[in-house]
Amino acid sequence: MKEKILSAQDLSKSFAHNGEQLHILSHIDLELYEGDFTVIMGASGSGKSTLLYALSGMDRATAGKVIYKGMDIVTLDEKKLSVLRHGDFGFVFQQMHLIGNLSLFENIVVPGYLNKTVSASDINARAEKLLSQMGIEHVKTHMPSQVSGGEQQRCAIARAVINTPKLLFADEPTGALNRKNTKEVLNLLTELNQSGQSILMVTHDLRAALRANRLLYLEDGKIIGELTLPPYHDEDKKSRETQVNAWLSSMEW
């Protein structure tokens, strides 16, 4: 039995636009489990990223609860949310979003330095290990503008996991990458998951979705479908693809 790490209860998000309420998320109930690689799919505008941001505390839901360790993160103040962001949660963006005036190494260690329970030398050692794991050790002193998109994204992933988060959120992490870099990044995420990292990822990309052991389908702000798969292995890629394709077809994707 897997342990539940985060749950959403009756989660809604709406915006007022020209005097009209636009409902982006509508009464979503969801539970995320430890060790899972969960992927949220859906058409453009279905609310995937909004859900990801609401669950991660990057954005606040209009109604409902997001429970993490017994706390409702919707009601947490900025200070407590920031503790979650540099401690329990990691985040990978589609556009990498590295700090331009910090080297790759520094981009990785800066969130680690916010963690008061770990020493600087431990953070530095972990960053070195991650750089090596991500295959970007040779460019660690480079500035983001001096490396490729794939290297930037691998750096962003290393940054997201520097504090060994309980849950890694990834918003279309391969959206801005070419085929080669996409594969490398997905391999890294899979490796992380296989080493016990829980991941919640939003993607359009079927290749990315194949890495998950749990797929959710979002339409008009509601989860309308779910598919559970065994953990990813390169060998059963073909059969997973057929299974996921069939499921997506049933979702009218």
């Binding site: 505008g45 990057m58 590295l98 330095y113 916010l114 020493s119 600087a120 002193t141």
Partner: protein
Amino acid sequence: MEIITLVKANIKHKKGSFISIVLLLAIISLSVTFILSMKNNCDKSLEAAWEDLNPGELIVMISDRKMSDELLTKVENSRLTDKVIDVPGIESDAYYINDNTNGNSLFMRKQDNYFKAYNAELDGYIQEDIKIRNGEIWFPVGVKTNYKCNIGDMVSVYTIYGHEYDFIIAGFIVEPVTGGSVIGWKQAYVSDEDFNRMSDDAEMEELAHEDGAISNIHLIHIYQDGGCSMTSTEFRRALNKETGIVDFAFGSMPKSLCLKYTLLLVNIITASLLAFMFILMVVVFIVMGHSISTGIQIDYAELGILKSQGFSKGKIRLVFICQYLFAELLGILIGFGLAVPAFLLLKNLFFSMTGILSSGRIDFVRSSFIICSVFLISILFVLLMTGKVAKISPIRAISGGKSAVYFDSYLKSKISKKRIHTSIALRQFTSNSRRYIGITVIVSILVFFMMTAMILGNILNSKTALESIGMICNEINIDFKTALSDEQLNDIEEVVEQYTPITHKYYLRHMYLSLNGEETMCRIMRNPEEIPAISKGRAPLYDNEIVITDILADEYKLSIGDEVVISHDDKKASYIITGYNQSINDVGMIFSMSLDGAKKVGIENVYWGAYSLDDAGYAEKAAADINQLYGDLVSAEHNEDAGDMDSYNEIISIIKVIIYVLSVIFASVVVHMVCIKTFIQERHDIGIYKACGFTSGMLRLQFAVRFLIISIFGSLVGLIFSVLLSGWTIAQILRLVGISVIKVSYTPLTFILPILVICFCFFIFAYAASRKIKYVETRELVME
């Protein structure tokens, strides 16, 4: 129409920058209009007061003993003069106001045509006829300033024989001749009866003693002939050459010098502030330049879109020009508008210095000329700064814009866990230092001015510094009641030295002598080796030597080794210039010689002594002992403020306050403006930091620390400028009061206070301006 639409949209979108430019220009325009109006009003009001009272082109003071009908007739008959009025006066060297004296001469006269009095509030004139009553004395406003006295206060005039005349100050008068606070001589009005009584005493005193405490004099008002178009100093020279009247006088006051001295402080303040305004204008240009270049960087994509839609680079530049010039114009108009009430409220700010009420007319013409020139220059400047618009490629701009690209830098600082916020702030500065060059220059300019003002204040508050510029800083004043021998003076010195050593002793007198035909102040010293502040050459140790100030050397085209002729009454002698010294007496137009040298032109004695003590704490006790033991020979008093620089301290305080206040305002506006732009440029990074777990508080702190670092860096540059240039700058300002070489005096506070003020302002204002960080959402990083 499309230009107007874009300008309106830009102003609406960039309210912060727009308001900042408006504010800066409003401050400049308000200050320039205010300063020029103050100066113009002081000039014109003084000129008008002179015309109104019409005291003549030259007033010559001659002792009754030396005055003759023959001399007067000679002057009256000169082709240079129109008319001559001989007014009887009484000169007093021993008068006390509320028991204080500054040792300068007081010329008392009867009420006459020149009498015009202020009301009790000193904001208008008494319209009714005034008849001065016995026991009353009327003073110019400069006396009120120098002695801090009021109507009803007590004035005592003494004679050598102990007669005392007590007066009550009945009011203050319009006096354009000696009314200014910097002029030591003062004229005063008493009743006819009091005047006659004193005159009789003065006559008796003169019969018994050549140099009494009071003496009868003649105030000769000389009016230049209408056909003559000489300046008043040329007139004095020519008249003296023809009649010798100035040689017989113990003093003279040409109109131009009276006006110059009366307006001396006003001119120093306004010149200093106008120079500061000029530098602030440079600051405004730097800020505008920064705003334009970052604006182009921020709007790179939008400008590309405009180009792709058919907007030419000329049109886009026109939008920028309209936008900035509209802000400038609005600022200028607001500044002009605010100048009116500000001026009306403070039009008599310099009243205590000039003694003349201002007419209250704003000098729009000269102000507009200066502001319009600035406006025209700014058009060229905006054109120059918007040249980058031509280089924008629509395709490159639209395909993602132009974001800042950072590369490795030699200045790259280490990011550390311990000082994470400071190290990140430092990195933000070092990784894009070009962006902060402008603001660093601004900080350095402000700090330079603030330090210069501090140094100026230090000079006027330090005894050593004052002595280095030729001030006689004494803790004990000795007024001689008779000529004293060396032995008698040694006895008096011994009284003081029982308590503390005398570091400098001066026995001297000041009087006007004719130098190459020009009436010039002379300092006669019994001990010429003590002549202060010899900057070149040596003291006049022999009886045919003098030293002159370098300002006098410039004015009279003289130099060391030149021979000059000095005359007094009917005596004349040649002297060699042996050196240059400094003095603020008569704004530097002074020469010094030994008593032995002065004896050659008939001056036998000095009547004033001054002791500078090693330990000032004994001054009161020593002065009391001198009075007790040698009261029949001298009158001693202790001087609480060594160096009479009160009036200068006052203006330095005014200049300091204005410079500090304007610097703080400018710092706040500049920081606000730069912070807004920086915030827009870095909004994305702020979102990333937040996503990584940084709180708004941490990021605001980082933001403020970065500007603190910039302000520290700029302050250090300002400090270097100050070390290199403050002395020169101050020398230029102090040249107006007769000092051309100064020894800059620093105290830790000189550096610490300006740096602290600027750094504190930058930190606080940057922290306040960064409040928008709170509203940056990590959600902004999402690509939908």
